[in-house]
């Protein structure tokens, strides 16, 4: 989905300085993207809901209340109650904490690994590059959800394993992106100049090369976060991710697999499903806006 031109920015292609910083321009481009702004607003609301969950919950998200099982939405229970009498609204806001943080941590892990492997591969070139890229090809050869399910079942289901598994299996995209950029930069004059005055390779990568890929990586990581949330939902839906009683949007849907619940108590599954879609959609919109803002050379 992310197409980036492989040519390095030609010298002299920089527009004339207009007194506006690059960031100010990027910000302007981002806020011109209406859907991205909408996504940002929705995501902010979702994040606030998650952060303030203990304040806006109306009942405990975990304690059972067998006196009020499977109730339809009402003034007392805005989104109804589940089969053990727990308030769905309270579970939704708490699940937001879990699902959003799993997404964030997972994408941080995959971005870190991706930048590291891609950076070393692109800067070192030659045999190191060859070896690392073959390794990347091998990791990419597995359908990611299939491998996520397999490894999650080996490690055992838990919220931390979910973060870890999604993180360690979804880095190849970013690695390839960073490697491509580093390869094209490494022969350029600013790198030669740095090398000739004795700057260490590590310093060159961190100080001179990395700042050039921050935009591209941010865009990829944003789309990566949307994907990570979907993968957490799938894993928890299968019962291999976040475990009850801790709610996540995915494991709330797991309870609705029986036709009785699907038919009789639709509020139990419609609400968490819509929350996943809403969160992922708004992050994807933000990603699209960031691409316009930070990566204007890309074609899409």
């Amino acid at each position: 989905m992310i197409a980036t031109s492989s040519e390095p920015l030609a010298a002299g292609a920089e527009p004339m300085p207009t007194g506006e910083s690059l960031w100010a321009k990027a910000r302007k481009r981002f806020f011109r993207h209406k859907l991205a702004v909408l996504g940002l607003v929705v995501l902010t609301v979702l994040v606030l809901m998650a952060v303030l969950a203990p304040l806006i919950e109306r009942y405990s998200p975990i304690d059972l209340d067998l006196g009020s099982m499977s109730q339809a939405p009402s003034a007392a229970h805005w989104l109804g109650t589940d089969t053990t009498g727990r308030d769905v609204w309270s579970r939704i806001v708490h699940a937001g904490r879990v699902s959003l943080s799993v997404g964030l941590v997972a994408v941080s892990i995959s971005t870190f690994i991706g930048v590291l492997i891609g950076g070393i591969s692109g800067y070192a070139a030659g045999k190191v590059d060859m070896a690392l890229m073959r390794f990347t090809d091998i990791v990419m050869a597995f359908p990611s959800l299939v491998m996520i399910i397999t490894i999650a079942s080996v490690l055992g289901p838990s919220i931390y394993n979910t973060m870890l598994v999604i993180g360690i299996l979804t880095w190849p995209g970013i690695a390839r992106l960073v490697r491509g950029q580093f390869l094209s930069f490494r022969e350029q004059q600013f790198v030669l100049a740095a090398r000739s005055i004795g700057v260490t390779p590590f310093q060159i990568m961190v100080r001179h090369l990395f700042p050039n890929v921050v935009g591209t990586v941010t865009v990829a990581a944003t789309f990566g976060m949307a994907n990570a949330i979907l993968q957490e939902a799938s894993l928890s839906f299968l019962g291999l991710g976040v475990q009850a009683p801790t709610p996540s949007w995915g494991n709330m849907l797991q309870d609705a697999q029986s036709h009785a619940i699907l038919e009789g108590t639709p509020w139990l599954w419609i609400a968490p499903g819509l929350m996943i879609a809403l969160a992922v959609l708004s992050i994807n919109f933000i990603g699209d806006g960031l691409r316009d803002a930070l990566d204007p050379r890309s074609v899409h």
């Binding site: 859907l35 390794f135 299939v146 849907l253 038919e263």
Partner: protein, 318 residues
Amino acid sequence: MTTYILRRLLVSIPILLGITVIVFFVASKMPGDAVLAMISTETPQAEDLIKLRRGQLGLDLPLYVQYGRWLWQLLQGNLGYSFQTGESVIDILLARIPATLQLMGTALLIAIVLGVAMGVVSALKQYSRTDYTFTFLGFAGISIPDFFLGMVLVYLLAIQWPLFPTSGISTAGEPYSLVDNLRHLALPALALGLVRTATFMRYTRTSVLEVMNNDYVRTARAKGLSEWLVVVRHILRNALIPVVTVIGLTLPVLFGGSVIIEMIFQWPGIGLMFIGAVTARDSPVIMGYVLFSAVMVQASNLLTDMAYSFLDPRIRYD
């Protein structure tokens, strides 16, 4: 062309070997092994028996020796035996692959036909309301979990308006009929296919926009061809070549998606088998499925590359 295919095949070999190493390593970390599945710990002298069997099966050998033996078996087409039923994994896979291929194939077809059609319309009417609507729908498509879409479809089209059956591949107890099979196929294939439509739409739109402004398209219009002919013969022919690569990109996600969709709809394919094996910790079956899916992805990448070089003679690889 031949050298390209040969070289491409050679590159796949180390990748396939790497895949087997990873699959073997992951499986060796799985709790339980063939012996524990065969011998109950309650049997008298269970420990001695287990030790004996382990020795016979070579499970006490170093890991790399075990890998070598396993790979040798693999090359002879032996994927091991299920811990649960004792059946050969390759037989279980072969029996269930047709169902999965039918589901994935139909889903892919839905995604391609719908995605390409929407992409072409979007590009031809760039910046129109239709274009924006389709773009929005595309974003919604990639954001909705396929299993949630599956649940919505079941709720609407199988429960509220019972047009389609809720699960299975055919009505139990009735002789096979194609109509019955297709009715069962409709909802899972839609759930799996609709959410992948967006990818094809975006690629088609970009590609058509690029081709549209070429001189030969202007020439075709100038010589008075109807708009339909211009679009079909001159624009689409060239614009659809890059879209071929999207098929290769879609296959891995289709594998992941089919696992969950087969579970929701109790579709008796390899995805449902895989989830059953994961729950039962039946590692030979799990390995068999993971290996099969990875090899299929490799094969599809290879085919995509070949199709691409065949369709676009401008591309030379040597």
